[in-house]
Subunit: 420 residues, 2 copies
């Protein structure tokens, strides 16, 4: 017997029929003797409708009222899910954030969970009930409804799982797991059985939009094992892990220690439409980088890669960074109109693609970066920028070689499906 | 300076533009130096949508979950109203039932308000804020969301007005007041400036569907002065009472003592499609009426008029009552298939119309009933049944004379508009 928290996203509860389908997954787990708590998002499209009304009411609305309006969407799904489960013979009760309670700070619209009172949920679970909890929301110290920001339901699920000491937290979504790379680019992409939290964090931030970074961070910190799986699977089918053995379908995101055979590289990710900007002959002194990136932050420009090399003689250096193509002109303008930054000239171009290889195995295997560069060179692809972290190596290349590069690296690191 | 509770129904908050229009009424009162609290219904159509989903989820749903889902509609309107008011420069904050709190019993779906904690609202009002409260709902002793049943928002408004000691409770709706009779039947129907609670109760139950009976009963018990007025009036127009003098437009529903010149008759109401059923030669003994109407109640048939005359010799009597035309066959069947009721035969027919004249002045004026019968006789209209209460006389006549009868009585009692 296990204690499980399952979370259904917006597309998995888009209408009553989908809610019924989701409930059958819950029933399977209950019938197997497990204790199950459910966390739900709003029906897909509902949150957008509510946000639309708020913006129509006023462009400059109070965030407290935004939250009061927008949080109603999950309340509806939670009640409907409890009704559907009850009809299946499962004792179920819905709980809004304030009823659990899920305590948050009062940063309305982007609140952080500060604690969850486990006793109400724990009592229901022990009595064989299935509590259904509204995701995405909590209650502030001032007894106002708060929301956690977009994608916050994943975070709610992880936090609930931590609070009730769940064995795992299953995130049901519209994909059936985490892949070695984007299957639309590489048909032979494989679904991973397991991936470490650290790898998942790098994958998520690099465009594998399966899980919100924030929920993975929380899961890592709270040691909550996550499972990413599809709500569109047949709920009554035998439970088979991706390798065909009996187990849990989908991808388990867990502590590195739980992964016996570590892949050197677990995945290859791609982010397109990156513009690079270089400041030539920047004065090499303390505070220069802060001035440059402060000027960009003031204009709300998100910077991705940053590269600074050592200067020849300690006087001047070059700094290069990337921003989305759409922010290129704005970024150049921000730098040109800032007197506190000294440099010789700005050069740059749009149309770059960032390719990254990720894997905890890199820590213990030398030569991953150099073999990556070699694999790209073999295809005649020029590398414009390189950045590395402990478990990731990223390069910027010309956009037009992006898919070719991903396929080449995917094959090179042995990630291709065996039977395809 | 007055303290006012204003309530907007579903059609008055059907979309953001309507909410803005409603908010302008609130602003006018605030600008006049009044303390204002707002009670709102769900956007029209929303409650039906939510109820539809609940029924789709399960025909046999838990009432607690029905309430959790359905109560979300008012939460949305309250937040949007607070946002719109804030944009107009009025400090405003929304409150769901559980945040006030509005305490109810746990009769989910049809809960009764047991008390309202006034301190939160009172504090806001004293500081010049406009609290916006979700109508139709409260919180049970078990911290579950409850709803008061359809039309419960009027009741919420009256209860809030009583709790905060408001000078009056203004119900904004899609009509501009209470009329002497249905203006579609009698174009010369007049809007009443004032009407007593007792008269309003008789008017409401007889088909003038402006206010829910329950809210009028509560207003009478709590001595909350009610104003019925239109949210579609120009919010910036000078406030004129129905007689054209400066004051509050609409109809004031208040204690009888507040009405100086009492009309003998304040209104004429009509209910069509009434079927009459007579049981001939019913044994005149204790328990007979209980057996008859118990049999009907068991089939959920709502009986309207009931007439029983004294028997000639104390042995048998005739009992006549009316039910909606649509229930006629069901009612006859219920009586014919009940062995405990002894009678000679059942006779009846559909297609009756009940005409009532209502007025607290009847108490002190003799002859209202007889003059009513005379007025109908002058038009050649035969009276089939007569029932009376302290402030109301009703007759059943043939459906085809219904409009003629209403117009005749309206004129006879001097209710016609002077200038029409």
């Amino acid at each position: 017997m296990a204690r499980i928290v399952v979370k259904f996203g917006g597309t998995s509860v888009a209408n009553v029929e989908r809610i019924r389908q989701a409930a059958r997954h819950v029933k399977r787990e209950v019938d197997a003797g497990n204790e199950v708590a459910v966390v739900v998002s709003a029906m897909s499209g509902k949150t957008n409708e509510l946000v639309g009304w708020v913006n129509e009411a006023s462009k400059f609305h109070d965030a407290r009222e935004y939250d009061a309006v927008v949080a109603s969407g999950e309340q509806v799904t939670a009640g409907l899910m409890a009704i559907v489960l009850s009809e299946m013979g499962i004792q179920s009760r819905s709980f809004a954030g304030w009823q659990v309670p899920i305590y948050t700070d009062d940063a309305h619209g982007a609140a952080r969970i500060t604690g969850i009172e486990p006793s109400t949920l724990d009592e229901r679970l022990c009595q064989g009930w299935v509590p259904v909890i509204t995701g995405f929301q909590g209650v502030s110290p001032h007894q106002r409804i708060t929301t956690l920001g977009r994608g916050g339901s994943d975070t709610s699920a992880v936090a609930v799982a931590a609070a009730v000491g769940a064995d795992r937290c299953e995130i049901y979504t519209d994909v059936d797991g985490v892949y070695t790379t984007d299957p639309r680019i590489v048909p032979r992409a494989r679904r991973l059985s397991k991936i470490s939290f650290e790898e998942m964090l790098e994958m998520a931030s690099l465009g594998a939009k399966v899980l919100m970074i924030r929920s993975v961070e929380l899961a890592m910190a709270q040691k909550v094992r996550l499972v990413v799986r599809s709500s569109f699977d047949d709920p009554e089918a035998p439970q088979l892990a991706p390798d065909g053995t009996p187990g849990i379908p989908g991808t388990l995101v867990c502590d590195e220690d739980e992964i016996m055979e570590k892949q050197i590289v677990s995945g290859v990710t791609l982010a397109k439409s990156e513009a690079k900007i270089t400041l030539r002959d920047v004065k090499d002194k303390p505070g220069v980088a802060a001035a440059i990136f402060g000027a960009l932050a003031d204009r709300s420009i998100v910077v991705d890669m940053i590269v600074q090399n050592v200067s020849d003689d300690g006087s001047v250096t070059d700094i290069t960074f990337t921003v989305p193509d759409s922010e290129y002109e704005k970024a150049v303008d921000a730098l040109e109109n800032n007197d506190s930054i000294e440099y010789a000239k700005i050069v740059g171009s749009k149309g770059g693609a960032k390719i990254s290889v990720i894997g905890v195995g890199m820590r213990s295997h030398a030569g991953v970066a150099s073999s990556m560069f070699r694999a790209l060179a073999d295809k005649g692809i020029n590398i414009q920028l390189i950045t590395t972290s402990e478990i990731k190596t990223s390069v910027l290349i010309d956009d037009q070689y992006a898919e070719l590069a991903v396929r080449a690296l995917h094959t090179y690191y042995g990630l291709d499906k065996k039977d395809a």
